[in-house]
């Protein structure tokens, strides 16, 4: 005999408060490390900046107490810590480049953080129930593809560092792919909730694998063509992999058929190989990946090599914040922020950061398991998976597991659009987790059979 009984989780808001304070303390400790190692003194702005940072995080915490009391208690502290560590590293690189606080990138990043947390708070307050997002499934689909393809347009699209993933409007430049990630997750979740039954119809069995019917292959082929298009036209393996990976992952979660993963990976590998044979810029990326230290690769770009050397110089426990030379690598504060941390915090510190990402993703997937509606499940799983895949693409790129691409590390990297997108992801996950963890009211709405109708009342 087995007995199934339900029990509600604790709210965990006090635990969250404690962890947020601890996260702020760690960020301030890192900031002190930078100050002591570069100027030999504890920075005078410690209390002001620390107070401001804590204020931003506590504001979010209070909004959660007010509007999402059952939300997951881990997400906010982890996001706060990662965001803060990124700020400290960007500030440290500002010092290395001789920029004062006023003109440096750290202050702009801090303002972006405040703005991003503000957007996340607004999302929590406005969106009382994540299921309203399902109404905009196809609007989201259209918007997502437009955003993804926006950088190709002639005037606003801009070519930076070999990949066209930016748009520029006057002084502002923006990576639409970051926002597209969220919007496409909404689209895929809403779409697969509707079509999962058709897509999970089994076809023939080949080699112990249940293949889908040929006519159900349509959506995956459309997604594949778009992904390869992004790879070829925008010259960006990262966005392409992120977008197609998200699609295949949600397809698998919705249908529980491994054959979709195998079909997806085969298609992507074949498409990527064809692109490698046909396009020069893909060949360059592969050369830099496989033969980083060869003469011809170093003549093209020594960025990857410098990043690897930096991480090597860090060793086990790192040189200490402010004592290494991460500033030698180009884009040390955005794409190459992971080697910067690897150099100054060492492998021990870098792994702590990676575990923090793993915990963030785990909480997202746990939320997906706990969610009671199919759309919430798919959306939470999709958002969590997109963060995981993005981390894999970035860390894999700088450690030569896959070819290097220009994606940002969530929360750590310098860049407003990335911060904004990731805080909104956290807000959506918090909203779904609040819904998933909230105990089911024992006295639910009156069931249809019992509700007195007007005719009966007469």
């Amino acid at each position: 005999m087995t007995v199934v009984s339900r029990f509600a989780p604790r709210r965990g808001r006090n635990v969250e408060l404690l962890l947020v304070v601890a996260a702020t303390a760690i960020v301030l400790l890192a900031y002190v490390n930078v100050g002591v190692n570069t100027h030999g003194e504890v920075p005078s702005s410690l209390l002001v900046l620390g107070g401001g940072f804590l204020g931003i995080a506590l504001a979010f915490h209070l909004v959660l107490r007010w509007r999402a009391a059952y939300a997951d208690p881990i997400l906010l502290p982890v996001a706060t810590l990662l965001n803060g560590l990124g700020l400290v590293m960007i500030h440290r690189l500002d010092i290395a480049h001789g920029r004062s606080i006023g003109e440096g990138m750290a202050l702009r990043q801090l303002m972006w953080s405040a703005l991003a947390v503000g957007c996340a708070i607004a999302a929590i307050i406005i969106m009382r129930d994540h299921r309203v997002l399902r109404r905009y499934t196809f609007t989201a689909g259209l918007l997502g593809f437009v955003l993804l393809l926006l950088p190709i347009l002639p005037v606003i699209g801009s070519d930076k560092n070999g990949s066209k993933i930016w748009i520029s409007l006057g002084p502002f430049s923006f990576q639409p792919g970051e926002i597209a990630k969220i919007i496409l997750a909404i689209f895929f979740a809403g779409y697969f909730v509707q079509t999962r039954d058709a897509l999970s119809v089994a076809g023939r069995r080949v080699l112990g694998l249940t293949l889908p019917r040929a006519r159900d292959l349509g959506p995956i082929l459309v997604a594949w063509v778009l992904a390869i298009g992004v790879l070829v036209v925008e010259r960006d393996l990262g966005s392409s992999l992120l977008f197609f990976g998200l699609f295949v992952a949600l397809l698998y979660i919705a249908t529980e058929r491994i054959s979709w993963i195998i079909i997806g990976l085969t298609l992507f590998a074949a498409g990527a190989y064809a692109a490698y044979l046909m396009f020069g810029h893909v060949q360059t990326r592969v050369l830099l990946w496989l033969d980083t230290f060869s003469q011809e690769a170093l003549a093209t770009s020594d960025q990857l090599a410098k990043g690897l050397m930096g991480m090597g110089a860090g060793g086990m426990v790192g040189t200490g914040l402010g004592r290494g030379r991460p500033d030698i690598t180009y884009f040390a504060e955005s794409d190459f922020i992971i080697p910067s941390f690897g150099e100054e915090l060492g492998m021990v510190g870098l792994f702590a950061i990676l575990v923090l990402y793993a915990l963030l993703v785990e909480r997202g997937l746990r939320t997906a398991i706990g969610a009671r509606d199919g759309f919430g499940k798919l959306l939470a799983a999709g958002l969590a998976f997109s963060v995981a895949l993005q981390c894999f693409v970035v860390v894999g790129g700088v450690t030569r597991v896959i070819p290097l691409t220009g994606l940002t590390m969530p929360f750590l990297s310098q860049g407003g659009s990335s911060l904004l997108a990731n805080w909104v992801i956290v807000a959506i996950l918090l909203r779904i987790s609040d819904h998933a963890r909230r105990p089911v009211p024992e006295s639910g709405p009156t069931p249809i059979g019992e509700a007195p109708t007007q005719v009966v009342k007469l």
């Binding site: 339900r6 881990i74 915090l345 059979g449």
Partner: protein, 169 residues
Amino acid sequence: MSELTLTILRLGLLVALWLFVFAIVGVLRGDLYGTRVTQRVRRGTEPSGPIPGASPARPAALKAGMLSGRRGSHPRKLVVTEGPLSGTSLPLRSQGTLIGRSPECALVLDDDYASGRHARIFEQEGRWLVEDLGSTNGTFVDNRRITAPTPLELGTTLRIGRTVVELAR
């Protein structure tokens, strides 16, 4: 500042990072939630089971309750006796227990013959009733397809698709 202080600060940051990670893992351990499935010990092997002497009398009492439907033998749970979930039991809620394929149901069936929201068991005037929620393949009480809310007694078989459930105390 001395080199020692610098080293302590540097390593202190790493220690603090890992302590934070372990604090979170600690929180996660205390944060397990959802449904709990407990395996009941079989009566013969149970060392501190029900009062000795009471157990042989129990099946008789159960049978008596089944026949007369006494007040004292009020069902409090639902037991699955046949089908893939056989052996599962869950408490009855007076507001209604939903059975079906949809994840919102209290008893979620993985059965192609069951509808999303198949049937509901609820309490009315001290009796448990089952009603069909417009399912495709029907709900059967003692092998008769029901069309209106039907009372359930202890031991009445309720069949939904390939699953058979009974009320129990």
